[in-house]
């Protein structure tokens, strides 16, 4: 799997997962995002870099933030972008997905941004698109959400600079979280000193240690002296699935309150990929408090997506050039 994401010369052609990508590439994504971030502060928030390129957001699963920031990122680069919300039908999924894809490809799309509730959907699409088309994964099932992980890394770097010195705790439903999976891979690749996961046994993968992380089942010890606290969204269906007793009990044990946050370093930052469940995984006073960088994450999402889209489309040019 390592590297159908990369061109022969190691440029990013698809962005499907953090897995298999090397540190210099992750750093390049963040550096480029840094370079793009000033564009959003200009009078005209737009550069003509991707003028004439067609980007199609294929959302088989709901999203507000991710879809909007992908759209805005495309527009700030002057690409033509369309967002399609496509509901899935369980029986005909495989077939309808490919049919949809080939139809949209026939409209001369250069880049697909794909969100799907099935793990592996983005990679499946990447295997079936024409050679000159790129695919970016905007979240697939419980598998990966690489642009979210990169905007989180970017946010951490903005506040903390040197990754090896950091201790980062990820709290909540690790088992079902594509965000956590991608974050852990990115943190590990960037050489973060210590990665911790905190959550009830029912929401942690059984092979956690093999991911190179330290496992905690309580906030008291888990948050001690960390630099970064990443809260995950608790999905309501987990309660129905009998993995958790109740929202109130979850909040008592794993909800981030001002008291529990005191265990972390005084300058620790609090992150959350959104949308937040106030009073379930995070208290309002923390979400809106001075250590929260949750809204910064949203802003950074635009720059990261600009970086990844321009890199993927730029790599196409390069491939085209070297093969012509």
């Amino acid at each position: 799997m390592t590297n159908n994401q990369l061109t022969d010369s190691g440029q990013l052609r698809h962005f499907l997962t953090i897995e298999g990508l090397k540190k210099p590439l992750l750093t390049e994504i963040m550096d480029r995002a840094e370079q793009f971030s000033s564009i959003s502060n200009r009078q005209v928030k737009k550069v003509p870099l991707l003028r004439g390129k067609t980007i199609m957001n294929l959302f088989f699963e709901n999203s507000t933030r991710t879809r909007t920031t992908f759209e805005l990122a495309a527009k700030r680069l002057s690409a033509d972008v369309m967002s399609l919300n496509i509901s899935t039908s369980a029986t005909t999924k495989g077939e309808s997905l490919l049919d949809t894809l080939h139809n949209l490809e026939a409209m001369h799309t250069d880049l697909f941004v794909v969100r799907h509730n099935q793990s592996g959907a983005a990679e499946f699409i990447a295997q079936h698109v024409a050679p000159h088309v790129s695919v970016i994964n905007a979240g697939d099932g419980c598998h990966a959400h690489p642009t979210q992980a990169m905007l989180d890394m970017f946010t951490i770097r903005r506040h903390k600079q040197h990754f090896p010195d950091l201790s980062v705790a990820i709290v909540g439903d690790i088992l079902h979280s594509r965000v956590a999976r991608s974050q852990i891979q990115a943190l590990a690749t960037l050489g973060v000193g210590e990665i911790r996961v905190i959550g009830p046994k029912t929401l942690l993968p059984t092979n956690c240690q093999s991911l190179g992380v330290h496992v905690y089942h309580d906030m008291e010890n888990g948050l001690a002296d960390v630099d970064v606290v990443i809260m995950l969204r608790l999905q309501h269906e987990r309660m129905q699935g009998a993995l958790l007793p109740s929202a109130r009990e979850y909040f008592n044990s794993y909800g981030l309150t001002e008291d529990k946050l005191q265990r972390a370093k005084p300058d620790a930052i609090v992150m959350h990929p959104g949308p937040i469940n106030r009073g379930i995984e995070i208290a309002s006073s923390v979400a809106d408090g001075p250590q929260s960088v949750i809204l910064e994450q949203v802003t950074h999402g635009i720059a990261i997506r600009m970086a990844v889209m321009s890199m993927a489309l730029g790599a196409q040019s390069e491939q085209h050039e070297t093969h012509s």
Binding site: E34, R42, L49, Q316, S317
Partner: protein, 176 residues
């Protein structure tokens, strides 16, 4: 025609440009904008010669990487230092500086970018070297020296321990 190459040969050209800038923009409180990276070097030299008070604000820098017309052919530039204009361009007289004016494509991109920051009162173009080979209807207002080169020749400004101009021909490039 001698083609300047050393810092000592470049210095008088910078003074010629500075004199001309004083004449054309002396009463206009201009803002200085260099095009990354050679234009920024020249702009810094001009600011040194003209004095800190001549320009109304610190040097602005433009990186036209996102405005190039060849993305579809060659993709992203490896390193992009973002543009930085520490002032509003609206209704101001801008002095846009580059090292070499050749095809005119860089200046075209720079003008497009400048207008994304606002609506300047005027833009004056100053270049150290003006050469033949224009592909667009653009010319410089202030020129250090005009030279004529063959189509296979390129002139390039470098800045290792001082500014230098290097003349290269395509044949040399292929040899490297």
């Amino acid at each position: 025609m001698t083609i300047p190459s050393t810092s000592a040969e470049i210095e008088p050209l910078l003074h010629t440009m500075a004199d001309e800038i004083r004449q054309q923009l002396g009463d206009k409180q201009p803002l200085l904008v260099g095009i990354h990276s050679g234009g920024v070097w020249i702009a810094k030299e001009l600011a040194r010669i003209l004095g800190v008070d001549f320009f109304a604000a610190p040097l602005g820098t433009l990186n036209i990487a996102y405005y190039r017309d060849d993305f579809t052919r060659i993709g992203m530039h490896p390193q992009v230092t973002p543009s930085d204009l520490p002032f509003s361009v609206d209704n101001r007289h801008l002095l846009l500086v580059d090292d070499v004016l050749h095809s005119g494509r860089t200046v075209r991109a720079a003008l497009n970018e400048l207008f994304d920051y606002g609506r300047p009162a005027s833009v004056t173009l100053a270049v150290l070297i003006e050469r033949n080979g224009r592909e667009l209807p653009l010319q410089a207002d202030i020129i250090g020296q005009s030279i004529t080169l063959s189509a296979s020749q390129h002139i390039k400004l470098t800045n290792n321990n001082g500014l230098q101009l290097e003349l290269q021909s395509n044949e040399d490039i292929y040899d490297q």
